[in-house]
């Protein structure tokens, strides 16, 4: 595409009239300038994203273990073998991947839902001006601003069985549990992960929804108030419909981030996550870099990519249809 657009003016360059010819180089420069400016970014995109992705796809068709990583090009082809292993849900590798996938879907839906809900509620609450609003808004954004590693490692300390703050509050102070719970191993690890994910994710939702709220004309609320609409009606009839375009992007971005979140579970649980919190990103990492099954890990990554593309495509289609219907 770039090449065609770049060459087009050159092919059309006439050879006859001198005046026109003198204007050509200027026009050529003007036409080609945007593409020249884009070229470094395109090259980087190619190098940083597309080439590794193509390599990843090639690897997924290879029997790539530690015997071949020194020169992975020599690894024998395995055809669709890695894909078959990954989707054979009756065999352990496929079964573990499916389990991990289902855990991730459940986790993502809950996390995104809660992030959106808390973020929206906070943004609506913060719409009214009151003393200390600026400070509160800044505080809300702290989890989003903190480096992930620092934030999550602090949670690791808080979730410790013997000396952690969470058990101290839940067990020692509030007496909600009959004995201190384990949060970093066993079934509770899912809730520990969800807590950290929501804590870390809702400020982003808050930020985006707050920005979206700035675009809703105040007159609408005033008119609604004159018509006798209550707070809940104003939120339902004005705020939420007006936020729809913002929410569409917000939910999609949160979904993609949460589904692929690697840092949170890895810092929280290390390289072998408990079964209840075995997110697909760490699962693939483990297949590739811990058990050194790089071929299978790559095949799983490609499957994940396809899933995300389908979900994203379907989501965009649905939302654009919804918008068209609304426009009509």
């Amino acid at each position: 595409m770039t090449t065609t657009a770049f060459k087009e003016p050159v092919r059309q360059a006439p050879s006859g009239v001198a005046a026109r010819a003198s204007r050509r180089p200027g026009r050529l420069r003007r036409l080609s300038l945007p593409y020249l400016l884009l070229l470094p970014a395109l090259l980087l995109e190619l190098l940083v994203h597309l080439v590794p992705m193509v390599i990843g796809v090639v690897m997924s068709f290879k029997e790539l273990t530690q015997f071949y990583i020194r020169d992975w090009g020599t690894a024998p082809w395995s055809g669709l073998g890695n894909y078959q292993v990954s989707v054979d849900f009756d065999a352990p590798v496929g079964e573990a991947l499916l389990h991990s996938f289902l855990v991730t879907v459940g986790f993502t839906l809950l996390s995104v839902g809660l992030c959106w809900l808390i973020g929206t509620a906070a943004a609506v609450f913060m719409q009214d001006t009151f003393r200390g609003r600026g400070l509160l808004r800044a505080l809300f954004l702290v989890p989003y601003a903190l480096p992930v590693y620092t934030a999550v490692i602090t949670w690791v300390f808080m979730f410790q069985h013997d000396n952690g703050l969470v058990n101290h509050v839940l067990h020692d102070q509030l007496h909600l549990t009959d004995k201190p719970s384990f949060w970093l191993i066993g079934d509770n690890s899912f809730y520990a992960l969800l807590t950290v994910s929501v804590w870390k994710g809702w400020p982003f939702a808050f930020l985006i929804v707050t920005a979206g709220l700035q675009n809703i004309p105040r007159e609408l609320y005033e008119a609604a108030a004159l018509d006798g609409a209550g707070t809940w009606q104003r939120i339902r009839r004005i705020t939420l419909p007006s936020l729809r375009p913002v929410n569409q992007v917000l939910v999609l971005v949160l979904f993609l981030w949460t589904f692929n979140d690697f840092n949170t579970p890895y810092v929280l649980f290390g390289k072998s996550a408990p079964e209840a919190a075995d997110l697909v990103s760490v699962h693939i990492y483990q297949s590739s870099f811990v058990t050194w099954n790089f071929g299978t890990g790559s095949a799983m990554s490609v499957l994940l990519l396809l899933f995300l593309l389908v979900v994203t495509g379907g989501y965009l289609l649905l939302t654009s249809r919804g918008r068209r219907a609304a426009d009509v």
Partner: protein
């Protein structure tokens, strides 16, 4: 607007997918050369209390090497959690150090990558010969029948560390020699309100080392003679269950230890909260945490019955650190000279004393410093009752998969769920099925 959004979404999706898809890759087929004869890069594993402490130990020795040879050594101390992945990345890219430390249990796995210099007779001759090294240490340098992929640098073994004061208060006169005695001692210690034994239930390598010893004491192996995983062998199942039962049934390991993975059990022992610790060369670590050497005793790891040594009465894996040379080094001769220097009698004494390890070089072992009671137990264990972990290419994967299975079983035990032969077998079967085809 729509196209911008679609482009943004596409970019985000691609970036995220790439985070898990891209493995990098490249060719590193080049052999070694002597193009840079005056410099070496050395990756040392973190042996001491901290990376800074290691630098303090190693830097003077590396300066000494520079004075002797004119070769400047660039040192990087790599934490254990990063080391294997760093080596793997260096193997893939071909951009690694010239000389590096590896955990001796990884020798066969890393040997299979073909990235390490094989120590054939000629290379061994350059560092004084193969005979200088203890046979037990050489047993963990690569697959049987192949030239070693590394040279032993520090040797270590597991031992039972016990708190003398807690033992005296509980009326226990001598350290337990069998597991039954340990459980019995545990009951008395618990009656005194102390925790009997520490463990690192979420540390995969620790889990493997203990499970291996329990298996060896039952005459079982995790791999068949031809290198195939055999994790569901009834004796292996019994071994793993017996280890986890120390928490699940015998209650001598506290439930809280199920989530330990950062040496918290060593801290508990150093602080006097816990009576016993099964650890490899813990003295330096205990000292750095303020525990006096008089406060604890050291004994061999218990066995099923009788005494350790000989036959199936194995009570420790052969632990230790090996030194390897990347095959594609630009200073092949210098790398070998450096290995020779680090394995010389003098350096072996200095370094192994600093890390409270045992020199794998036989002539250095004779130094009186290694005859003190604590090191004598470790030395004796290494000489008579230690066995090398499986020297198979998939050893590092075995550590992860079986280590994870034991971690999950500890989580069950901590949550009060039953740990049965069936549940152990199911976890081990899953671990076996996750192993890559050899």
């Amino acid at each position: 607007m729509r196209s911008i959004r679609a482009a943004a979404v596409g970019a985000v999706t691609l970036s995220l997918a790439l985070a898990v898809t891209a493995c990098g890759g490249g060719s590193a087929t080049g052999g070694g050369s002597n193009d840079s004869p005056k410099t070496l890069t050395y990756w040392a594993s973190n042996q001491g209390a901290s990376i800074e402490a290691d630098k303090k130990v190693l830097r003077p020795e590396l300066d000494k090497f520079e004075q002797q040879t004119g070769i400047k050594v660039k040192l990087e101390v790599v934490p254990w959690s990063d080391l294997l992945n760093r080596i793997l990345t260096a193997t893939t890219s071909g951009q690694g150090p010239d000389v590096l430390n590896i955990g001796n249990t990884w020798s066969a796995s890393l040997q299979a990558t073909g990235a390490l210099l094989p120590w054939d007779e000629k290379n061994f001759a350059a560092i004084g010969g193969r005979d200088r090294f203890a046979e037990t240490a050489l047993g963990s340098t690569g697959a049987r029948g192949e030239d070693p992929a590394a040279v032993p640098l520090y040797s270590m073994a597991y031992a039972l560390y016990y708190n003398k004061k807690i033992f005296a208060e509980a009326g226990i006169s001598k350290p337990p020699a069998t597991w039954a005695e340990l459980v019995e001692a545990g009951r008395k210690i618990k009656a005194e309100g102390k925790s009997p034994l520490g463990a690192e239930g979420s540390n995969l390598s620790e889990n493997i080392h203990h499970a291996f010893v329990f298996a060896k004491q039952r005459g079982a192996d995790f791999f068949t003679a031809d290198g195939k995983p055999d994790f569901t062998n009834p004796k292996v199942v019994d071994a793993v269950k017996s280890y986890v039962d120390l928490m699940a049934k015998d209650k001598v390991i506290p439930a809280g230890d199920a989530e330990y993975a950062q040496n918290q059990s060593v801290s508990d022992f150093a602080k006097g909260k816990q009576a016993m610790l099964l650890w490899q060369t813990a003295s330096a670590n205990l000292k750095s945490q303020g525990m006096s050497e008089d406060a604890y005793g050291i004994a061999p790891v218990p066995v099923i019955s009788g005494t350790p040594g000989g036959g199936t009465q194995v009570n420790s894996p052969v632990m230790g650190i090996n030194m390897a040379v990347f095959k594609n080094t630009d200073n092949l001769d210098g790398a070998k000279r450096f290995v020779k220097f680090m394995t010389s009698d003098e350096e072996q004494k200095i370094l192994n004393k600093a890390y409270s390890a045992i020199p794998p070089v036989k002539s250095a072992q004779a130094d009186p410093a290694f005859a003190a009671p604590d090191t004598a137990v470790l030395k004796n264990t290494l000489a008579t009752s230690a066995a090398a972990l499986p020297q198979v290419p998939s050893e590092s994967q075995f550590e992860t998969t079986v280590g994870t299975a034991v971690k999950e079983l500890f989580a069950d035990a901590a949550a009060g769920r039953p740990v049965t032969a069936g549940s152990v077998e199911a976890k081990l079967r899953k671990a076996q099925q996750q192993m890559p085809a050899a």
